[in-house]
């Protein structure tokens, strides 16, 4: 597809989703209380959108991911919340660096 064809097919949908993201951030900002790991991961993921680097979807997914490499001792829950709790406090030695192309 040409870039024009991509824009014709997907621009309005992407615009709609971006406005939803902006509104979500406004909503979270005006709400009472503190940020938690999910919002921190969200902002880290947003930073991956800027600039001309490729593989933005992959970079966003990695920003939300648990990048440790060892199994956890026990599954305490069945569900996933969308962002790794361990990420901000993760010791450097246990973090893997997945290959990301520029």
């Amino acid at each position: 597809m040409t870039r024009e064809q991509v824009l014709d097919l997907y621009f309005l949908d992407a615009r709609h989703k971006l406005v939803e993201v902006a509104a979500f951030l406004d909503r979270a900002q005006r709400a009472r209380g503190r940020d938690d790991f999910r919002l921190q991961a969200f902002h880290a993921a947003l930073a991956e959108l800027a600039g001309g680097r490729q593989q933005k979807a992959k970079r966003v997914l990695l920003a939300f991911s648990d990048l440790t490499t060892q199994p956890v001792a026990r599954a305490e829950t069945k569900g996933a919340c969308g962002a790794a709790r361990t990420r901000p406090a993760q010791p450097q030695r246990r973090r893997a660096t997945p290959p990301v192309s520029p």
């Binding site: 997914l61 939300f64 648990d66 490499t69």
Partner: protein, 266 residues
């Protein structure tokens, strides 16, 4: 356009879905064993479920002209109890010779725990001992990248496993390369919120080629769409993909992998 739905949990769907899928061109549906939404209390619950997948569900599908196949295994959401897992796995061999059973699946990891990994390795061993195909579930959301790596490592550590006989399902942009580089098949799951949209699924096909990749809906008891595969085929048409390429992805590719089981006959 004919297509194969290689991953759908039809026991959780209403009969109308079979009719809609048949009208959309589906010729065969493959149903991996799954978590029911609650933990089964005993191995006998699994025995009944495996009987449902191998006896009752094929008849329900046949009413609409659909072939029904299944995979048997213990879902990773119930793998924390290793003793229960051992008892359930002991039930599986007697079902493997049934005519609609394709292999062991969906097995894998959910929260990437030690017990989940141990039970996964037990199920890989079961598949190897019985020369079965393997269908692997990868974890959701933040756990997917780590889980995919642990799964691939476990499979590659077992020298009996031939990578071309393994499908790693629910890949996304950050895991598809890992799977394809390991020589295994990759399943792109078209599922709201937690997996791929049709547009992203097609992006993966455009970026990584059409070899060792298939599309599936994984429709189940959650909000999901049993027509996700034909809807994605329509989206591929909108992008200008040729009919032959679309048929390769939604019909020929799953057929090529699944025919490695002697039970897969259309």
């Amino acid at each position: 356009m004919k297509y194969i739905e290689p991953h759908a949990h039809m026991v959780s769907r209403v009969t109308d879905d079979y009719e809609r899928m048949a009208l959309a061109g589906c010729v065969a549906v493959c149903e991996p064993a799954f978590w029911a939404g609650f933990d089964r209390s005993s191995p006998s619950g699994f025995y009944d479920y495996f009987s449902q997948l191998t006896e009752h569900e094929p008849k329900r599908a046949a009413k609409f002209g659909l072939k029904h196949f299944c995979w048997l295994g213990l879902n990773s959401k119930e793998a924390e109890d290793v003793q229960l897992a051992e008892e359930v796995l002991a039930l599986i061999p007697e079902f493997l010779s049934r005519p609609n059973v394709l292999g062991v699946g969906e097995i894998g990891l959910n929260k990437n725990s030690r017990n989940e990994l141990r039970v996964f390795e037990m199920q890989v061993d079961l598949a190897a001992r019985h020369n079965q195909l393997i269908l692997v579930h990868t974890p959701h959301l933040e756990d997917k990248w780590k889980g995919t790596r642990l799964i691939l490592e476990a499979l590659q550590n077992d020298r009996r496993i031939r990578p071309e006989r393994v499908i790693i399902d629910h890949v996304e942009e950050h895991t598809v390369e890992l799977v394809l580089a390991a020589g295994m098949w990759a399943g792109i799951t078209l599922y709201p919120e937690t997996k791929c949209t049709p547009a992203r699924g097609i992006d993966l096909l455009e970026n990584y080629g059409q070899e060792r990749l298939w599309l599936n809906s994984a429709c189940d008891w959650g909000v999901s769409d049993p027509l996700a595969v034909p809807k994605t085929a329509r989206e591929m048409q909108r992008r200008g993909h040729a009919a032959a390429m679309i048929e390769k992805v939604v019909f020929q590719n799953p057929g090529k992998f699944l025919r490695q089981s002697p039970h897969f006959k259309l």
